[in-house]
Point group: C4
Chain length 296, copies 4
């Protein structure tokens, strides 16, 4: 269930294509094609309306799952919630079937990230018929919440998401280096606090110390574990100052990349001589061969 890597899409800035492969319709005419467009395209008014209805239904079904987990509400409204859950499940099952029907290679869709999400979002309700509800069943029921990813998928088609994802993509490797550095700091400080404070102040093992170090360096600070000795507090202070200083790093990376995305566009005109496609906005001559560039 990995996020499929992009291969050969023309417009990576479109954002949506980052997570969803481009599918071909099984048929190019009739109801089957109309439904393909409604489900897989997001530009024409009726395609957008379908998306909005879908988002509303998904959010309503997520709300039902959330409310069903609150003991006081479940006790009182359980029958209504149960009925609503079946209505939503059947609606999503129909939608899932339609998706497989309209797409050219259904099996490829079924194995994709969102295909698996779609299936996992409807399976638990059907499974509840087969198995009696046990406490361990809560895990499977919670899977229905994966529907929320489908909202995310639709949001990703906006051009805003495109710009944001684009900048994230480009800062991906720098953020990986940053996280590697962070983990090193967390291991060192987690072990240090385990040695300094010991089990009597809650640092029962090095992994526990690492959990505390992450909570601290991420400026969350639950306070479930806190240093008790003067030296432990000094180490904590050092860790906080380090955290405070390096919190700038991911922000810096992302801001710099985003600022680049928002910068004034260059002239995308191909030199007739040497074919260089990308020039400064005020260029008249190709910087490589000196030939006059064609007007836009």
């Amino acid at each position: 269930m990995t996020i499929p890597a992009e291969s050969g899409t023309a417009a990576p800035a479109a954002g949506g294509s980052l997570f969803e492969k481009e599918y071909l319709p099984a048929s190019t005419e009739g109801a089957r094609y109309r439904w393909f467009r409604r489900i897989f395209h997001h530009d024409a008014p009726d395609e957008r309306n379908f998306d909005l209805v879908l988002i509303a239904v998904i959010l309503a079904s997520v709300a039902v799952v959330l409310l069903d987990s609150v003991p006081a509400i479940k006790q009182r409204w359980h029958l209504w919630l149960y009925a609503a859950e079946w209505v939503f499940t059947l609606a999503f099952t129909v939608e899932y079937a339609v998706r497989l029907w309209v797409v050219k290679r259904p099996w490829r869709y079924a194995r994709s990230f969102y295909g698996v999400i779609d299936l996992l979002a409807i399976l638990p309700t059907f499974l509840s018929l087969l198995f009696p509800a046990s406490t361990s069943f809560a895990v499977i029921r919670a899977l229905r919440l994966l529907r929320v990813f489908r909202v995310l998928k639709l949001v990703q088609y906006s051009s805003e998401a495109g710009v944001l994802l684009d900048a994230l993509q480009r800062s991906r490797r720098k953020i990986f280096v940053f996280i590697a550095t962070l983990v090193t700091i967390v291991v060192i400080f987690g072990a240090l606090m385990y040695v300094v404070e010991g089990p009597e102040h809650g640092f029962t093992s090095i992994p526990t110390g690492m959990y505390w170090a992450i909570v601290t360096v991420g400026t969350v600070g639950f306070g479930d574990i806190a240093p008790g000795t003067p030296f432990g507090r000094f180490v904590t202070s050092v860790l906080i100052v380090i955290g405070y200083s390096i919190i700038a790093v991911p922000t810096g990376i992302y801001t710099a990349e985003l600022a680049r995305s928002l910068q004034p566009r260059r002239r995308q005109v191909r030199c007739t001589e040497c074919g260089l496609p990308d020039h400064e906005a005020d260029a008249w001559h190709c910087r490589k061969c000196g030939r006059t560039l064609p007007h836009d």
Copy 2:
């Protein structure tokens, strides 16, 4: 009581116009017009003085409400606070009446966001005469604090607020996409922790888990609910690292937009001699060849 959408204002950068419609005076001469200018304009010295006095009075009346809620102070100074409250309420009532008197379409003002605020800020004190003070009455009394919005309204007229709001406006949609992503993460992690930790560690329902996830990913970390199992702590660590990485996103969005706002505007006019297309906003001559630039 929604914030009215802007329609057809010439200068959106003025900031104040974002929240307050532009009102026409009921009369263009005499005391009525003078008061209109004093209340609705914010440029001439005496208009600015009126604003400063108003801010001082609003802050004083807010302070009275705040102090009145502290049991120890209320017991001792209640009579004074009660008297001050009536002085402020009468002053605001007079001001509200003057506003309705000087404006051309009083009903339109009364229904606007700030018109409703003005009314809600004086009503509770009058209502306290009609009804005996009960505990549920605290809710209505607290409405008086809505006065504080009026300070915000006046602050918004400064050009600084204009630049800030302008950048917020432009990053509005990107921040919406960001919050949608955040909510998805919160739902997934809230449900995960509900399943992993369960009611015995305070995760009594999925909404409670979501509250915990927001408190954690927002780096607040009250510690009223905290993970107790090793796997729960691992999930928490992952959530914190995610939160730490994406805290960069709104900052990046806003900084990039604000940097654009603060950049000196340039004249995009092409020099007839050498063709240089990009000049400073106040340029008359091309900086390269000295030729007079054409008018826009």
Copy 3:
């Protein structure tokens, strides 16, 4: 004891001048002038060495005050700390006297921000001779820590501090608008939580609610007061998302201003025709009159 406003200094970017007025020497020759240079200038090697020694002595004296407040340490080492305190106090007294001796208008120095700091840093030790040590005396003794400001003063002379302060100066008014907005949010949410949660969950008054709102929106989250009702937790979640979104604002303001400070310099050459002094880095002709600019 207000920070003196700047008036007519040629180089505001120098940073240090932001906080310290420029003093004239009482004499321009002999030992008196040499000490004036040592104390008030920060460029030549021996002036810098004096600064470094001063920083070391200040930090040592601050350490003595800190250690003296720890009961366990005070009990054991009190005599040594007491002796060290007197050595430092006498040294600072001599330095204070020398400052007044070498400067042209000693009274003006004595009334300045750092002049008052210098006095307050030595007075408590002398006062301890006059009055027997009482518990309320702790307040006065703590004043000695104001010495730490003197380290800050010396750091401010570096050009790095100049750039940072310069950007802070320019973003001053925007940050004020931001804080006004923040305070409005805090008042509204503080009152809301007071009404929703009430004294039984620790929200004993609206000011207490505001304290909680600041702790929450500032992502500190001590957890000494935390919401207990489902609706209170929902309000908290909204407040955290607001806090998470607007944390971007001061960062955005400051980053944008700082980026402007670090931007490539313009050509500071005066047009021989019209006298315009500030041009783009690549300008050959004056953008106002078209005259060829002189070479640097």
Copy 4:
């Protein structure tokens, strides 16, 4: 064991060179040279493969140390963990010996930052043979975790780390000024809270107050110490607003520096025909007149 300062390296942007000196091979042919390249170079495929295997082994050995500190796991799997620890220690010992063998000046490597790390990472296991395991021995065993630095070293060779470190290097002095300001604030507020709240609310000494001030201004907020008096809460609110405002400073510094690093390098060469001075790094012809640009 200080991090060696860089002296005379040609490419500071390479990142790795910031922490590791450049070593010369003891021999330039045969197995000895092949191993030198495998260990000290990071470009060719087999050199990269060696790095990846090394990272995997280091991470596995770190995991063993972490698991060994969890009482429940240690009790059950101690024998396996003990065996694994010896396998890793022997492997690292062989690697350490090979490093000393292939390098020209082994002693210089042994004294370097990473040379010391390498030694400290293998010593504890051997020492455990000499001394019986005591509780104080936990400190020495924790030293084995210093191996994690070796992962960091390898990560630093990527060009991404180069850019990040480069920007950190350049913002180093500004961040130092910032931390000096932060420490001043912490001292002042720590002492203030010690005076205001006193030992009964947990502020037992000024250093404890400073620990609390760092936890607060860094927005961590454990809640192990929290203000109890109204005035203490007011001071806390002021401190949080200050912290919220200045959190922007390191982010601003770093973002501005990083944005400079990411800007495409430009050629500052003046066109002999039209005089345009600023071109893209890869330009051969002037983009305005098409003339061949002179070589630098």
